[in-house]
Amino acid sequence: MSLFAKESEVLAPLATGWFLEHAWLIPVVPAIAFALIILIGKRLPMKGSELGVLSMVASLVLSAGAAYQWIQRVNSAAEEQFVTPVIKSWSWWQSGGLDFGIGQHIDGLSIVVLFVVAFISTLVQIYSLEYLRGDRRYTHFFAALTLFSGGMLAMVLADNMILFLLGWEIMGLCSFLLIGHWWEEDANSRAALKAFFTVRVGDIGLLVGISMLYFSANEWTQENLGVSGFSIRGISAWALSGEPNSTVIMIAAIALFIASIGKSGQFPLHTWLPDAMAGPTPVSSLLHSSTMVVAGVFLVARLYPVFFVGLDILGSGGNLIMIIGGITIVISAALAFVQNDIKRVLAYSTVSQLGYMMLGLGAGAWLPAVFHIFTHAFFKACLFLGAGSISHSASHHSFDMKRDMGGLRKVMPITFSTWIISTLALCGVFPFSGFFSKDEIIDNVGNNGYNTFMIIGLLGAFMTAAYMTRATYLTFFGEPRGASAGDSSHAAHDVHATPDAHATHDSHGPHESGLLITVPLMILSVLALGSGFLNATPFGESWERMKLWVEPRAVEVVDATYSGGPGESLIVNLPSAEESHSKSVCGSATPETGVCFAPQLQHAKFKWSKAMISMVIVFLGIAISWILSVLLFTRRDPRLVGLTQRVKVLGLGHNFLVNKYYLDHLYEKVIVHSIAHPISRAAYWFNQNILDGILHGFAKSTRTISDWVYKNVDQRVVDSTVNNSATFTKSVGTAAQPTQSGKVSQYGALLFSAAAIAALVLVIINT
């Protein structure tokens, strides 16, 4: 009894609140709004867009409330206490003894991503009001955009892998709809198909991974936690329990990681991402900053214990996640140098930044990676919306930097300044937000002993700075070219929009965009500047808010009981007080007294000397790129212009990059041809010889059988029965004919004698 009292002194009851308990409403609101837009959107005064914006605002308010109450919950916990996620689950459907749940799992990670998604979605929808004004499928655009956000929100707060998969697939579908929004152009619908199918290749990994985890974890989770093997919480605890077979969990982790590669555009499945630029710019912005591509990173962060154990994160040598992340950083940054389309530069930049997140996750820098999701969402959304603003108001819907942009800093001051702030954040310049997150990733990768990957990270930072400087120079500096110089004679109109998108848009010269576009830009640029201070490691422990609020604490939790009942919260409580002060065993050894939900990770100590190195590298990248850009694009320096034509090696390299490492060729020409064509030929042969042979043989034998049946069964048995019965009836009729005399009195006599006989029979029977 005294022990119990002591424990309850250590443990403060965790605060909760309405917003935390009802966080499941966050994706439900956009889902309902989607249905309403589809049903009645066209009849509303603003063609359904108001429903989309309102639902996203409602989701934002709900997520902000949940975030506030989550912070209160964390603050109410004791120092070393595991902050229990707010879990609610209901039975969705049951089949063959399997119980598929639906519910919410609210912890620090979901809160961060929920807030970011709702926030960016709201701004993007407001921006779209102006950007897509007068579009042919305005209502459908808002419907798909709303469902897209709803899918992401559902995936983020899913408490089990089935709901997670649902959200994941809804996003896949909506990305297809949105990328192919202007499907009248062949290229756009091809891009939509490419995105859909490339992601589907990865999705198979997700299905395999989920099934493997379910079948290997279900027994353990039912016994120890009372939840099914789909439950994220159950899977996390199971992975760290020392129970799983190392091969099984490794294959499951690899399968899940393949899904992440597909969704998050990691090498070698990154090829769909730049093509996805075919969609309207708000879609690109939403897709690339906070939803869709982040889903893959989120999957790894969400099931981190599985990857931690399965892929031996923090072990010696690199693991799959780090290697893929590292490769992605460098190759996509290199591709960004040869793009002329401003959105494609940003797309490759996104791929590269996602590589950083993967690198961080693979190297055990969980929190910096999640923090990078947070900061990256703001500045990348701002960059994309900035690019959209330029094309909307200055360059006649062209995104070609070399042909239609240049010198725009004077005519678009707001777009220019927000662009510069976001670019500096992306490059990682102090004190912009990217510095705090990206530098922390690089720092932690080195701190965990992966020096090669730290160098790759620094190289990536250099390249990021350089290609962003090139893009900025081409867009905003130098002399105006093409459409931005007021030249509307050439056909930039065929590039990205339908004719009726132009109809309302008069073609006077470049100008600043309207308030509906610039206000979201300004809000995002403020966050691109300021959001880094939520986890500003240089200023000491007290600034590391994100670490306190978001990172799950690696402590053993005992007496994990499920209070049961639909809609009931899970209560996980009572950590063993004595052990909590020693170093946690979570992730490194088998927990003896309870279960772990997160592995123990380390955090690098911030040093200005290390930060200065990366700062110098970034500035070097900016300076070199600036000088080269000025020489190449403005001065037209004869030593540089046409260099790729003159020097063969550089020309080859340039070609290699322009053709995107020939990966598209590899996929379409080599893999698809070598697999699909023999298969189709074999299928044709099989069809002609075997299937048709079987078919013909079958037809022949059927004919023989039916002939026999006709002669013997049909003619002899059936027909003779029918004929005989007819003959019999005829003879009976002939025999009975005389009674039909036509004389009424005779009929009467027959009637009464029959009645008399019947009466007699009745009398005899009754007596």
Partner: protein, 99 residues
Amino acid sequence: MYVNQFLFLASVLFCIGVYGVIARKNAVLILMSIELILNSVNINLLTFALRNGSADGHTFALYIIAVAAAEVGVGLGLVLLVYRNKKTISVDDLSEMRG
């Protein structure tokens, strides 16, 4: 109460009716014979109704009288039409239904 007499009367009436239906050639007389049969049944019903002290028989008898009135109406209508077309109401001459 002597049930026998009533039943005897009813059976006599019934037999006369049956004889009329079978033997008479005149269609009107056949209809009248059918009335006799129906009324003999009525007598039977009333006899047993009185004997058992229940109102069922009375109800049935009233019902039969109503139906019989309708039947006679229809029957006489038929006879009238037959007479108009054939100028005879002898049932022996109306043997078109011979099979």
